[in-house]
Structures are given as C-alpha cells and as structure tokens.
Symmetry: C2
Subunit: 349 residues, 2 copies
C-alpha cells in the first residue's frame, strides 16, 4: 500500500523486466513471450496497476482519443431534437472503432471575449465536429484551425478546406411543395423553423433577413413552387410551438395546406387543426420534414421527407476518422427521401 499509484516502471521492476517490455505487454504493439507476459500481468495485479495512465499515453502519442462535439445551444434544448439525438448516435458509432469518446462542448464564450474555462481552446481533443450554424462558428473554426485540430461541420457555414456534411434541404423541400401542388393546392402557408438568433415568433416579413441557414434554404425550396406563400416562424422545433403557430395561422385565414419545416412543427399544426374543427387531411393537408418518429402522433402518418440523421452523424464520424488518419475527408451531401403519409390529400372543392 504505497501512497503513490503504481506506474509501469514499478510493474517492470516487480516483474523483473524492462519498462519497454512491460509497456509492450499492455499495448500489444510487439510480440512478447507468454512467460514474460504473464509475469508482467501478475506483477501488475499485485501492485494494483490497472494499465497505462491515459494522460501520459496521450502526451506521448500526441492523441487523446477524444472527439469534441460543439453545439451552438444549451444542451437541454439541443437534445430535445430527435434529429440531433440520432446524429449523435451515428457519430458515436463511427468514432467508436477509433477508440474515441465524445466530449460535449457547448459554446459558452461570454460576449466579453473572456471565455469560460472548459472551452475549445483548452480541451484535449483530437478533432471536432461543429453542429448547426451561428455567427460564432467562424470564430470557433478559427480557434480550432490555429490549434491544428481537424474539424468537420454538419450543416453549417464552414470555410473552404473544411469537410462538411450536408443535406439537400432545398431540393427536398421543393419536392414536398411539388407534391402539395400536385394535389391541387394553391392556398398554402409555410411554417418555418426559427429564422434568426432572436427566434422571433410570427409572420416573416419580406424585409426580414433569415440568418439561419436551414430555415432560409428550405424556405427557398418551397418558394420555388409557391413564390407567394406567407411564412410563419416558430421559436423552436417542437410540437407545442407547432400548435401555437398553427393557432395563429388558422386565426389569420384558412389555407388548404401547411408546409412545415419539421415533423414536430407539423404534428403541432395538426393538433391546431383538430382543435379548430378541421380534419386532416380532408380540410387541411400538412407536411413535415425530417422523418423522425413523432411520439404520440398516431394514428397520423406524416407526409414528409426523411433525412438520414443517423447516417449524417456516422458520415461526420468517418470524416473525422479520415482526417485523423492523415487522409483528407471529402464533403458529403445527403439526400432526403420523400415519404407519403396520410396527412395530405387534394383540397376540398
């Protein structure tokens, strides 16, 4: 019972071998005779040595085995979105073979520039995945680049040289809109994700700039089909927000279809319609986006486009793996799949 933890040197001494041999027993980098191996293992057991200290190993190797995941928002809000959840799962899968764990980093930079401690600048990460998009992302990229840390961006405004995982948001949303128009709808309202960092709830005026990439791009896709459709922005992607927005939309008029930018919003919209005595899809068609399982939406099955959320995460993980391998990772653009449900139908005459 020494006060100090045993080190590999202690183990080597106890086993009567050299440190390098002991080290090799644990890393398996070089063949070792069975006899010596077991001697070392026994020595380790007696000394209560549980393996190399990861800190020392990572200094020596120049690798920590940790991948940072940087969010632009509070963790609680971020994980409420099933798309994010699935992405994380894919990401975790893809980095697992690397022997890497995921370090959650939220962007807490105080406005003053005095960053709080656990930040991008000091975390022992081998690579980083930036998720979402905000003004600060450029700064974050700069910091990471200066540190020489490989970065992959998921659906965000990366610079050149930075591999990004993207989605065909424009095309997918246009496809949905075309489906709706194909059914005969002309009186359509667009229900969008937050339009900017302020997250203003309400009708989007034409002079208002939409700074959130996803929102702007999906809106563009829908407007290609319905150039004049009014758009209403929610504060976040949730059923309750969809419900609130839905009430406001129905209070202002009676469109025959609502194209929502997320499944959760669409679910809320449906509920608002029911509340107003409208039947879906007979009186109102509603479409979603994402293709996530909306808990509690039964018996409806949303007409939506399915985005490969898990695959997006996995692709990001693979891109990270590639960059850590010295290869350079290509950007990748995923494609959504249209899925017809029972929430759209021709408008009533």
């Amino acid at each position: 019972m020494s006060s100090r933890r045993a080190t590999i040197a202690d183990v080597a001494r106890e086993a009567g071998v050299s440190v390098s041999t002991a080290s090799v027993v644990f890393s398996g980098k070089t063949p070792v005779s069975d006899a010596t191996r077991s001697r070392v293992l026994v020595a380790a057991a007696t000394l209560g040595y549980t393996g190399p200290d990861p800190r020392a190993a990572s200094l020596r190797r120049g690798r920590s085995g940790i991948v940072g995941v940087v969010f632009q928002d509070h963790l609680s809000r971020v994980f409420l979105d099933p798309v994010v959840t699935h992405m994380m799962d894919g990401l975790a899968d893809a980095v697992a073979p690397l022997g890497a764990g995921l370090l959650l980093l939220r962007d807490d930079e105080t406005p003053e520039g005095a960053s709080s401690d656990p930040s991008l600048t000091t975390a022992p990460i081998d690579a980083a995945v930036l998720i979402g998009c905000s003004g600060r992302m450029r700064d974050q990229l700069a910091v990471l680049e200066a540190r020489g840390i490989p970065v992959v961006v998921i659906e965000g405004d990366a610079g050149p040289h930075v591999p990004r995982i993207d989605l065909d948001n424009h095309e997918a949303q246009r496809a949905v809109a075309q489906h709706v128009r194909g059914l005969g709808h002309t009186d359509v309202v667009l229900l969008t994700l937050p339009a900017d960092a302020v997250r203003t709830f309400g009708w989007i005026r034409e002079d208002r700039e939409i700074t959130t990439d996803v929102t702007r791009v999906r809106l563009g896709g829908a407007r290609e089909v319905f150039p004049d459709a009014p758009a209403f922005a929610a504060e976040s992607s949730s059923i309750d927000q969809g419900l609130a927005a839905g009430r406001a939309i129905l209070a202002a008029g009676r469109p025959t279809a609502v194209i929502a930018q997320s499944d959760l919003l669409a679910a809320g919209m449906i509920r608002a319609a029911e509340e107003a005595g409208l039947r879906v899809p007979e009186d109102l068609s509603v479409t979603g986006f994402d293709g996530v399982v909306v808990d509690g939406l039964e018996p409806y099955e949303l007409t939506t486009v399915v985005q490969p959320a898990t695959d997006k995460g996995r692709a990001a993980g693979e891109a990270v793996a590639a960059r850590l391998d010295g290869r350079d990772a290509a950007s990748f653009r995923f494609t959504c799949t249209f899925r017809a449900g029972n929430t759209t139908a021709p408008p009533r005459l």
Copy 2:
C-alpha cells in the same frame, strides 16, 4: 513555418524570457509585469502558439478536466427521455466552473469480456457519473475504483462509500396514490416502467421479479395504498408505449384511475382513453410522474409529481466537484413535489 508546432519553450526564447515566465503568463498563477506579459503574448502570436498543450498540462497536473458520464443504454434511447436531458443540463452547469467537459461513455463492453476501445478503462477522466442501474454497474464501479477515479451514482445501486443522488420515489408515488384514493378511487391500474432488462410488455405477474430499481420502488409506493392493484409494464418511457399499454389495459377492463410511472406513459394513457371514448378526468383519472413538459399534451395538465431533474444533475456535478477537491461528497436524496393538474377527479358514480 517550421514543421513542428511551437512549444512554450519556443515562445520563451522568442520573447527573451524563461520558460517558467512564459508559462506563468498563460496560467496566471503568479503576477507578471505588463511589459513581459505583452512581450510573451506577441511572441506567441508570431509563432502561432495558441496556448499550452492540454495533454502535457494534464499529465503534469494529474488532471484532464474531463468528467465521464456513463450510460447503460444507447445514446439515442437515453436522450429521448426529457429527465435525462435535464439532468445533463444541470450536470453541465455544475461542472463548468471546474473547467471540466463531459465525456459521453456508453457501456459497450462486449459480453465476451473483450471490451471495445473507448472504455472506462482508458478514458482520461478525472471523475465519473454513473446513471441508471444495471448489473454491469457493479463491474464499472470496480474498474473505476481500481483506477482511483471518484464516482458519483445517480439513482442506482452503488456500493458503500459511493455518493449517490437519489429520489424519494417510494414516498412520491405513495403520495400520488393517496391523492387518487382520496378522490374515492378503488379500481386502479398501475402503469409501470420496464420491469427488467428484457423489457417485457404486459401485465406483471406476482411471481415475476422486478429488477429495475426505479420501477420496483415506485410500484412499492403505490402498492402501499392499493395493495391489489394490477400492474402493467411498458417497454420504455414514451407516449407511444403509454398508448399501447393503455389500449391493452382498457381492453381488459374499465378502471376508474390509472397511475403511471412517467408523464410520457400517462400522456399515452390519456390518448388511449380518448380513443376508447372515455373522457379524462370524468371517466378516467390519470396520473404521471416526473413533471416534465410533455410536448403536445395540451390542453391537459397532468396530475403528477415533479422531480427536480436539473437539480439532480447539478447535485451530481457538485458531488464530483467536491470529490475532486479532496472533500468527500455526501449522498443526497431529492424530494418530489406533488402537482395537481386537471387529469384527476372523483370517479363517476
């Protein structure tokens, strides 16, 4: 443009000061004259030095600034539960002042014993928070203890010496049951969380052992008031599961009240009741557990007990902080608060 990254020694040389001075400029541990400081900073800038290498720093300090969070389940499933989400938020808050980040660790140990790489045994963590409860948790505890890593357990079966964050599940559930009985109900069904690792969906037979702690304890609380109430186990805590279970329950009989072990299950139960033409609370009273915001449940407001999920996470974080500080952390037991909603009423005569 040297091929090697600049180190603090390079910066010191460039600035014409000693390494220790340069080091101090970055750590701020000791006062430095303004003149020297700026010389060092300038030197760092010219050399593209962005601060001490975290790996080296952590070896030297014996700290990595990382707290591991160990889940018993797939990440995607885990984060679907709002309670977990909030806990994570509290946890993140509480460890932030430590300058620590959160490393996601899922328990991936292959059954064969050949653990996959990114594991508890090799992660450079200063402390760990174990969440939930499973058989493997004991092993995990053993590993971490052997490594000398402080552990805090949230709602799980920890050994002695391990601080745990707990909830008064028994008392809280009993309080709910008493409320229900106070309204006059006698024909009650209990709708529970999964009863064991197999997650069997269906009526819980009396000879079946309930291995999941939370489920067993809450059930015990309810049974103290309704000793003979039948119990039906869901596969997971979700609205859809509540709906499915609710259908099964109503197909088997017409209780006047259902006591659910989570708000999500309760929400599904309500939906099942509506579907069956029952009004809540007139024809059927329903109670929940957790006090989370159930997206899309409007206009209902669940009668439930509110658990301080965020506080639980925060407490765990503070316990971690304490143990890293050398103090020892006390276990803590949180109390739920009863909250009357509009989903319970006296039974109809």
